[in-house]
Amino acid sequence: MANRAFSVSRLPGFTVTALAVFAILYLPILTLVAYSFNASQSVAVWGGLTLDWYGKAWANDHVKDATLRSLTIAVSASLISTTVATLAALGTTRRKPFKGQTFIYVMINQPLMVPEIVTAVALLIFFASIKIATGYQGLGYLILAHSAFCVPFAYLPIRARLEGMDFSLETAAADLYASPWQTFRHVTLPLLGPGIIAGSMLAFVISLDDVVITEFVKSGGQDTLPTYMLGQMRRQLTPEINAVSSMLLALTVALLTAFFLLTRKKTN
């Protein structure tokens, strides 16, 4: 018997629209990746296959330097923001509902709503006064800035995981002589694990990608990979940029795939 229930997929133009959307989303990226193997010097003319640009990028000290800095910031920011987000998620879910709970949720997620440029300017001004007062010029500012805007990204998957966790497990642990700390250590934390890993990876990717806030907050010589690329493209466009972008893309895709696998609901 034919299924006559309503289905979006039977509307006219559905297939065409879907294909167009996917094309718009992925064609530019595919082009970018394809031209990273282009032997020609120009980014517009195809001159055959080569891995030269990857080699060049690999040998480029600026790229190495920026990559290392990006990773340092992303790892630190991910660790800090995930810790903060885990505590925030525990504090907002593992207790009786309290007055102003919604307000707290909004406050934690607010950075997602504030335009990034506003945060960037605010941080620039804020850190400038600290720089003057203390004289400190190091990476700390970037790490702090990244940690701050990564918190809501880390918070969401952790809180989702906690809300899906039956509170009766912690009750059972307490019944079986576990102190509050032991309950956290042996029950809450292991069950929360996938959520924490997912949150930290999301924070890592977000930090790795960031341009706007980094551009405003960084001191001289503190280019991260994205800001370095931006700087390069202003000068001269070579497929080396494509190669760097492709590697960044590969890393991001790998992390997001892992994120997806970790957060997907277990069937059963």
Binding site: T171, A172, D175, L176, Y177, H186
Partner: protein
């Protein structure tokens, strides 16, 4: 009394405040002896879970005390009380294996590794799950999960085991099996069990004593036989088994049924006026109408195999159910419409309190 494993003294619990306040427990007092199988029986919302959670330490009473082996534990957190719970939802740890679940309490108590392993093995054998020790709990059937929950709660050898409707999620056959299993476990371990159910048959067959609860109060505490044969009030009589309620008049310690006919039921000599007499359907006899019996009209007969249920009407319009054991022929020899006389087995009629 040193014999009391657990005692609740004048426990009241009020949830919420003002308009929304709910009195879940109302001045509940009960003491339960060492090694007893004690059942809390009552309809949904009568406060059974609340009382259990209070004994476990998950809830603190608004007023009153909980005593464990004579010591006041009212303020003790759950992890400091030698009391374990079998939760209705089992609450097994999904990230641990069956054996790790069972070992959890012992590990938290800081028992030596060898003792933990030995006790865990013994508990798994006790609930017949030795083959499943390495499995994740999600790979078990409902009945097996139930057994893990039991083994996990029994492993630390608690003074009291609390079971909150542990069988309600199981199908009838498994339920019967687990009832026998629970009795066996209680017998073998000698641990005091406090068992919650709203299934009266389960309560009657399993318990040493039953507390019948309603609306946050304990209505009656007693052995299954006492509760069944001598219910103190209409609620208990009606909640446990089927009962006929007959209007009667009390005077000088004697009770006369409104519809006529005698009873051997007695009341305290101080009490007089209208009273209610309860009589179980299987304790009523049907005979020829006449002097010394309660006149009634047979309306309907339903054959139930071992029993035949007779539905009768009294002169004042009230209804009476009688259960007769079906004779070999299956025919009790009565026809609807017959005028009959009812009499009661000696000692079966019970005058209820208010």
């Amino acid at each position: 009394m040193p014999n009391d494993a657990i005692e609740a003294r004048n426990i009241s619990k009020i949830f919420g405040q003002g308009e929304a306040a709910v009195r879940a427990l109302d001045n509940v007092s009960v003491s339960i002896s060492q090694g007893e199988f004690f059942t809390l029986l009552g309809p949904s919302g009568c406060g059974k879970t609340t009382l259990l959670r209070m004994i476990a330490g998950f809830e603190s009473p608004t007023s009153g005390q909980i005593l464990l082996d004579g010591a006041d534990v009212t303020e003790l957190p759950p992890n400091k009380r030698p009391v374990n719970t079998v939760f209705q939802s089992y609450a097994l740890f999904p990230h641990l294996t069956v054996a790790q679940n069972v070992a959890f309490g012992l590990q938290m108590l800081g028992k030596p590794r060898a003792e933990v392993a030995e006790t865990t093995d013994r508990m798994l054998a006790l609930v017949k799950l030795d083959q499943m020790a390495g499995r994740k709990t999600s790979q078990l059937s409902g009945g097996q999960q139930q057994r893990v929950a039991l083994a996990r709660a029994l492993a630390p050898a608690p003074r009291v085991l609390l079971l909150d409707e542990p069988l309600s999620a199981l199908d009838l056959k498994l339920r019967k099996e687990m009832q026998i299993e629970l009795k066996r476990l209680q017998h073998e371990t000698g641990i005091t069990f406090i068992f919650v159910t709203h299934d009266q048959e389960e309560a009657l067959t399993m318990s040493d004593r039953i507390a019948v609860m309603s609306a946050g109060k304990i209505q009656q505490i007693g052995a299954p036989r006492d509760i069944y044969t001598r219910p103190v009030n209409r609620f208990v009589a009606g909640f446990i088994g089927e009962t006929n309620f007959l209007a009667a008049e009390a005077a000088n310690g004697r009770v006369t049924l409104k519809g006529g006919g005698p009873t051997d039921a007695t009341v305290e000599s101080g009490r007089s006026g209208a009273v209610t007499v309860a009589i179980r359907p299987e304790q009523v006899r049907i005979g020829a109408p006449g002097e010394g019996s309660l006149p009634a009209t047979l309306r309907d007969l339903v054959y139930f195999g071992t029993d035949t249920h007779c539905y009768l009407t009294l002169a004042d319009g009230s209804e009476v159910v009688v259960r007769l054991q079906s004779p070999a022929s299956g025919d009790v020899g009565l026809e609807p419409g017959a005028e009959v006389g009812l009499s009661f087995a000696p000692g079966a009629a019970q005058v209820l309190g208010d």
